[in-house]
Structures are given as C-alpha cells and as structure tokens.
Symmetry: C2
Subunit: 114 residues, 2 copies
DNA sequence: TGCTCATATGAGCGTGTATTCACATGAGCC
DNA sequence: GGCTCATGTGAATACACGCTCATATGAGCA
C-alpha cells in the first residue's frame, strides 16, 4: 500500500462537483434515443418535434421528454413559432463530445472481450 | 411536416449498432465512481485495487466491480504480479473523451436552467 | 366559442444498474 | 499444510431512468 502515492492522487482528484457534473453530462449521452435526436439535429440543423420523432422512430411523447432533458442541460435550444417548436443543437461541450465520439465510432468500432 | 427533410435525415442517421455502441461507451463515463477511478489512473499512472479504493473513497468491492466493467470494455488494462493487480488506463477512445471532458469541466462549468 | 393540432407534462410501471454483503480464488508466508 | 491478504465474483437490494398513457396548455381556424 503506497500511502504517498494515494494521498498525492487524492489531492489531484477533481472536486466532487466537477466529477458529478461530468457524470451528468455523459449520462445525457448514454441513451440511444437521445443520441439519435442529436444525430438528427446535427444533420438536419433545425427540426420540429414531430419531424424529429418521425426521423428517429420514437413516439412524440418520448421525444418531447428527451428534448426537455437536453433543453434543461442546454444541449439544445428551442425556437417557438406559433404552436410549433423548432429545436437545434446548442454549441455546448456536449455537442463537441458527441460529434467527436460519433466520428470515431463510424471509423473504428471497438468491442467486448476479457 | 417536412417529409423530404425527415427521410433525408433518416437516411443519414448512423446505424443502430453504432448508436448503441456510443450509448454504451458514454454509459461507462456516466458514473462518478468510475470517473474518479479514471481520474486517479490518469494522474497515478498505474495503481493496485486497494490504493485505488483508498484514493477514490470507495469500497474495494465496488472498485473491483467497476474495474471489471472498464476492463471488459477495454478502458483499462491489468498487469498482475503475484496476488496484486495493477491497473492502468488503456489508450482507448474512452480515455480521450474522458480527458477532453475533464479538461473542459475544470475550466468552465456549465449548469442547469430552463 | 368550439374544435383540432403541436407540444408539454405528470403519474405509473417495468427495467437496468450500482452498491453491499458474503464468499471464492489464489498468492505469499509461517 | 494452514493462515492471511489482495482481489474477484454472485446474489440481493435499492435506486434511477425511460417509456407509455392520459391529460394539459395554447395556437390556429371555422
């Protein structure tokens, strides 16, 4: 048991709040439904809820719930016009993470094993 | 309802397998315990289970379970020496995502709101 | 006003997942 | 061999999360 190493590593760990914030952000990206929405918005630019639901193969209710989460975390932005709501990706860190990961996953697919 | 836009977006969506793989990877990063482990390994280089548990403030069992997950997904690698197991970060995409996000979160902290 | 459509939201439910506890494996040491 | 220590694993529990269903809000339109 290397006590020196342990305490120096402990001291270097990011604060709890930062860690939990990170986990929350990654959690947003840990759902296929939300990922499809983001991929659609990345390609489509700006879309309404119905079109997003149709394009991503999800119910409008599920999409609305998902968009609410992304909205609360500032991953997407809304523009309201009449009774329509047009969503687009915000220029957030989340977008960048998603974009980067998507690029990688389409070129090289790592898999499972022990 | 913009049918053309919808179908063109649908066609551009990454295949289901890619999306699910992405979600799985992000899911690995969506837990504060695992993030602390990765942060510790990023700083400490190579550490045994006990030291990781001590440095991250988690039970050894929880750490072992978490490391198993990370190992199965090739995020960490093990070196066994006698009864000890020394873990280190693998050069995976996951590591890069984590590293990038960590850098950002320590410089600018985005938050919640409607 | 009354109706429909687009979206939003709340409750309830089923599922996945992290943690703990108890135990197993296996190396080092006497 | 018998003991201890470091790690691994399985089962059980508790919690979080996403989905659906029902309903609400609010714009457009007759």
């Amino acid at each position: 048991m290397d006590a020196d190493r342990v305490s120096s590593v402990m001291a270097s760990l990011p604060p709890q709040a930062a860690i939990e914030g990170l986990a929350e952000v990654f959690g947003l990206l840990a759902d296929p439904g939300r990922l499809r929405l983001m991929a659609a918005l990345l390609e489509g630019g700006e879309m309404c809820v119905r079109d997003l639901a149709a394009a991503c193969g999800q119910s409008e209710s599920a999409v609305s719930h998902a968009l609410r989460l992304l909205r609360l975390n500032r991953v997407v932005k809304v523009r309201r016009s009449g009774r329509m709501a047009y969503y687009r990706l915000a220029d957030s860190h989340v977008r960048m993470l998603f974009d980067l990961a998507l690029t990688h996953v389409t070129h090289d697919d790592g898999g499972h094993s022990e």
